[in-house]
Structures are given as C-alpha cells and as structure tokens.
Symmetry: C2
Subunit: 431 residues, 2 copies
Amino acid sequence: MVECYIEDIGQYVGQEVKLKGWVYNLRSSGKIRFIVFRDGTGTIQVVMVKSELPEEVFEQHKELTQESSIIVTGIVSEHPRQKGTYELQLTDLEIVQICEDYPITKKEHTTGFLMGHRHLWLRSSRQYKIMRIRNEILMAFRQYFYENGFILIDTPLLTGSIGETAATLFETQYFDLGKAYLAQTGQLYLEAACMAHGKVYCLGPTFRAEKSKTRRHLTEFWMLEAEVAYLEHEGNLDLQEDMVCCVVSRVLENCTDQLEELGRDLAPLRNVQKPFYRIDYNEAVEKLQAAGSNIEWGHDLGGEDETILTNMYDRPVFVSNYPREAKAFYMKRNPDDPRTVLCADLLAPEGYGEIIGGSQREDNYDYLVEEIKRNDLPLDVYGWYLDLRKYGSVPHSGFGLGIERTVGWICGLPHVRETIPFARMLYKLYP
Amino acid sequence: MVECYIEDIGQYVGQEVKLKGWVYNLRSSGKIRFIVFRDGTGTIQVVMVKSELPEEVFEQHKELTQESSIIVTGIVSEHPRQKGTYELQLTDLEIVQICEDYPITKKEHTTGFLMGHRHLWLRSSRQYKIMRIRNEILMAFRQYFYENGFILIDTPLLTGSIGETAATLFETQYFDLGKAYLAQTGQLYLEAACMAHGKVYCLGPTFRAEKSKTRRHLTEFWMLEAEVAYLEHEGNLDLQEDMVCCVVSRVLENCTDQLEELGRDLAPLRNVQKPFYRIDYNEAVEKLQAAGSNIEWGHDLGGEDETILTNMYDRPVFVSNYPREAKAFYMKRNPDDPRTVLCADLLAPEGYGEIIGGSQREDNYDYLVEEIKRNDLPLDVYGWYLDLRKYGSVPHSGFGLGIERTVGWICGLPHVRETIPFARMLYKLYP
C-alpha cells in the first residue's frame, strides 16, 4: 500500500493509501462519520461508513478529538461534483495520540491569547495559508536575484559598526572585544561586496530595539537588501519596480487559491504593473497638507501620512528626494537641491505605506566623513567603510525591502505580527 | 552604443560596447598596452593599440593603478584560439577614480592582514570565486526544499528558550522582559511548525559564544535545518543523503570552472553518490581505537577523530546512535540500547568531518521532561515546546547542516573563515 501526502493524492484515485496526520475537525451523521484530516500538505475529508467497517474501527471515531494524531488508511475517490477535491473512504484507523484539552477551540480567542499559543496557532487554517504565501514570496525574491545575476552575500549580524543610528541597537558582550551590536542593516557590507561582484543582495534578519507599538513594527524582522555598483538613482527605481512586479505576479499565479481563501481582493494586486508613480517629496508634502495632514517640510512621512498618500494612488508610488535631516547619513546629496538626498521610499497602495527604502549612496570620501560626524557616529569604526570611497569609488545604489510589511500587503493583513512565524515585539519574546 | 556586463559580452562580438568597472591588472609592451578589467561579473583583457588611439587616450594607461575605477568603451572580439574568451579593443577610456596605495598587492600578505581588509580582499580572484560557489550552494539547498514541498519557516533569532546548552549563549537585554538569547538553533521552532506544515526548513544565522579557535568554528554561522513530522531515524538519513547528492551534483554542474580554478580535485566530489556509508557509533569507536585514537566510549567524536574516520571512506559516512551523554537533550532514546539515542552525524570525506547533525526527536512528554531536568535547563521556558508532546504528538525527525563547513568541503578549503563574506570569530568582529 502506498503511503503518501494529501498534496499528491490525485495520483491515487481508486487505490488504497495511508496518510499520517491530525484531526482537524469531526462530524457525525448517524451511520456515516467524518474526519476533516490534515497532514501538513493539505486537508481531506475522511468518510467512515458504519456498514463497511468493523464495529471497533467505526467506534474509534468517538474517541477522537481536535488535533489528535492519527494514521488513516482508505480508498481515494474524487468528489463527484467538485473536480480536484478528493475524499478518503476509510478502511483502517490508527490512533497515535489522543489530544486532550487543545487550547485553541472554535470559540473566539483574543489575539493576545493566540500569539501566546503561536506554536499551536500556526496549525490554524488562516495562519497556515499566510505561511505558505510567505514561503512563495521569499522564494520569488531569491529567484529574481539569482536569475538576474546577483550574488548572495550573507552579511554579519554581530557587528562593530552601527548601521544607521545608535538609538535603537541591541547589544551583547563580544568576548574581550567589547560590545557587538545586532545589525540594523547589511547595507554597509553589501556596499563592500558590490565592488567585488557588481550586483549583490542579502536576505536575513535585522533588529531594531524600537519601543514602537504599531501594526508595522517588529523588533526582529527580515529584510531583503540589494546593492549595485555603477547604478544611479533612477536606475535604482527601475530595478525595484521590476522586482516588485515580478514577485507580485508570481505570487498571484502560484497562490491564487490561498489569497482568495484569505479574503484578499486580487484586483489591486493585479494592478501592480509598470510604471509605478514617481513623485517628489515636495509634491508629497503639498498633497498631504492639502489633504489635512500637519506634516511640515523637513520631516519624514509618518505612518498616517503614508496611508493618506497611498490611498490617492492605485499602484505603488515612489517618493523621491527627502530632506537630508530625515534620512540616514550614507545617502548621496542631491546635486539639484543640496538640502535633499537622492533617495526614494516605495509606498505600497491601499494604505499599506513604506515597503522599500533606497538611495544612491554618497561616494565622495569627504562628504561622507562630514555626514558621519554630523550624525554623531563614531568615525573610527567606519574606517573600513570609508576605504570603499578611497579605493576605486564608484557611483552605486541600493535598497532595503521589509519582508513582513510586504507579506502583510500581499496577503492583505492588518498587522505584521501574523506575517512571520514567531513575531518579536516590545512585549513579545515567547514562544 | 550598448552598455553591458562582461558575463553577457559574447552577444556583442564585432560591436562597440561600454563596460563599467575596475582595473584588476596592467601590462605594457611598447606600442600595445593591456588592462585586465573586471566589472563584478567577470574579467576581460582590454587592448590599447597606440596607432589606433588618440595619444591622450593611450597615455591615460600610465595613470592607471590597480583597483582604479574606470569606464571603457571598445569593440568586442573573440580570442582567435580560445573559444569563449573575449577581448575588448579599446576606443575610449574614462577614469572615475584613481586608486592610490591599494593595500592588497601582489606580494604575500598574512591571513591576519587579509582578514583585517576583508572588505577589499573580497575583490581578489580566489575570494571572488568562493563567494560565487557559496551563492550557488545556498540556492541549491533552497530550491531542493522548495521543489520537495518543504515550507520555509524563518525561526526567531532572539529567543527566551535555550536551544541546546546554556554554556555558549550570547545574551542581550530585551526591554522589560529580561534577557534574550541569540539562537543556537531554530530546531525547537521548526518542531512546532512541522506539526502545522508536515515538512519545514529554515536557513539563517545561528550563534555560539564558544571560545574555540579551530579551523571549523565561527561564532556566527549559517545553518540549514529541516524537520519532518512522522519521519523516523532511517528516513531522516535517506532525506539527508538525497539532499547532499542533489546539491553537490548541481554545484559540480554549474561551478565546474570556478572549482577547478580554486584547484579543487573534482574526483572526490563526483564520488558523492548514494548510498553513503552508515555505521554505528560503537563501530566508529572501535575503528578509531584501532587507528590509534584514545577516544573512549561515551564521548563525542573530536575533530581529529572525524578526520581519521573520514579518511577511511571515499564517500560521506553517517555515524549513528551516539551515547546520550554526548548529545542534546531532545534526541529520542534508542529502544534497542537506552544508553544511546536515535541520532546520526554526517561526516564529509577527505578529512572534513561533521557537516550535519540530526536525530529523531523525543516525542514522549515524560521522557522529555526528564531530559530537560537532567540537563539543568529551566523547565518553565520550555512550556510551549512540551505542548508539542501533549497536543497530537507524533514521531518526527530533523537535522541541521552547517553552511560554512559545507562550503569549505565543496571548495576544498582548509579553514571556514574564507567561506563566509565577513567571518566572526573569537578575535574577529571587524570589518
């Protein structure tokens, strides 16, 4: 007899197979009893017919509970009306463990309770689908870069240098060498590597010890970063646009069912096509002020500003050339307006807001030293980074995309906490 | 005129193209001067013929230095005798930056010096090739799992629970919640996730605050981990064997040139075929003692033992069923010999030693509690982990593979420090 997974069961219609998994749900209607059975790759309805089973097998149904682990054997049949839907006519049932008092029941639970039981909540249908879409999104990003000749450079997490700002760092003692900081970004290392490989990327965890409690913040989140030598500001936007379009279209193709089951409206995602809107920071501020925001020139856009702004557009929008004070020290000054820098944030539509921050990098040694000092960062630990402006400096650009925000946007979720298997937030370190 | 990368230059034979990059090397022979030019995607010889260039362009060659950034324009030609090798007959040259006193020259440098200049050393030919092979290896692993229906579960790096042992943890203050520990493994989280998705994996950085100074140890290294519900010990070995064979064969196919240029003997890699050798710990100890090792039953194999042992085999070898005292608390006791556990290490040939550690996991609640206590680990933080043995516990197995050790083995390198872009070791936190 074949042992198989539910995802492959279509190959075995009419045959007897063995499946190993868990009880997802139970129903009974007199002489027929049902198990909604899951094995990790899918769910299937298992049918137990009293007249066709030994009594002791049929009666086992009464013992079963939600999440009991069981092994079922039966004949595969296709649903007479729903093509692609299969059932299993049970012939034998083996109980591995009866699950008692499973904490997550059909009643309403608070999010706090569910997050506290994240190790079990992952089994629930909605969380299950989100993780599968996340899996597809991450593979789509990686293949995009692999196929376009980018080299993966895994940047270090324990660092002596500070990525962007000293204010939000987790630190740890590093043997006799003093403090190490958990990376906020891999960018500085990618800049070094792009001088070796031309086009590089990384995709790993990053950390911000921010005391923010918003629907967009995690203390540990995954970031995709790319860096390209000899790439300038406009080309950087073209790259991001192409990447986002490719990834969204692949996810739409491979995860249609899961997105629909999550209730995601697919129309706005289908609309993610080139060209994206490209506006200037000045224009963004004017539009926001006209819409009632009290933003003033010189400040970064807040989460609410981004929501207002993206609701004005039916596709992602780049906002370019922010004031220097609002952005990180390494961004290249804008030759046309030295108060601003050659950067852009990409804001996702439907109110989602920033998913990418990018810029051309300052490639002039003297300007860069000036900015490090102006930001009160310790010049000595940036020695190696400054070397990149001494030894064959070239114009270069890159960006960072927040994976959880992107998963949240594509899945249509209100909060990033459901977009990552085990979220870390201000008050959340377990499980 | 076309702007292109060297990797695509074969499409432009006879045409004029523009390339942006750096001087790798310079040569002069009277009326012809050469630039070995690199752009990150490859290198090409640029030929400057005095009689065919304006004098001021020809004379620019004298200004050039190693690693100066330049933009070259010229006509592409194929080497008359070496098919697939191209040259550029220069028509114009633009200097972006002259590089002065580049620290890495052709003379011998100490490894300490080179590691201290890792941000520049990455540009050297050997390091360049290693990173490209690493890129291929990592994509091969990811595609293996993606194509075999495994779901990527990014496990947290900041954790309240301790992975394997409290002795080698980096810790950081986590707001008001006390200490967080940097993950030694994602396994415990994968065990939770495999009860939701059946087959899961993660591939991310892990940390060990070990004071080891060996050629096999980093404090921060990347680990591939996989976990499968309802998989038992022997099936776990089958999975690892299949994965390693697929990855090695793909790398051999896609990176032949780079491996050969590194001087890697390809014969032992071509020999990585099923079936791998499978021996018992007891047998390993007997063989080692016969070969002169002073290992005693009850201890883990040391690095040297692994070297001796793997030199006895021409393919990877699994060593199964180690004594319980030598291994982590979560491994399932061996029903045939309760002094040992259902685990295996996979040792790479040619003296490389352990690249994978795996086991069937203890699925019995009471036994697991006993082991947590016996290892002096704090029972309370494992509450969620123990839940997995209460709510539908099933047999399950998994393993962890060290990426840097695997890259070292495949590339044939003596030390792991060259296998990762920016190594972190006992005395190494910069650059």
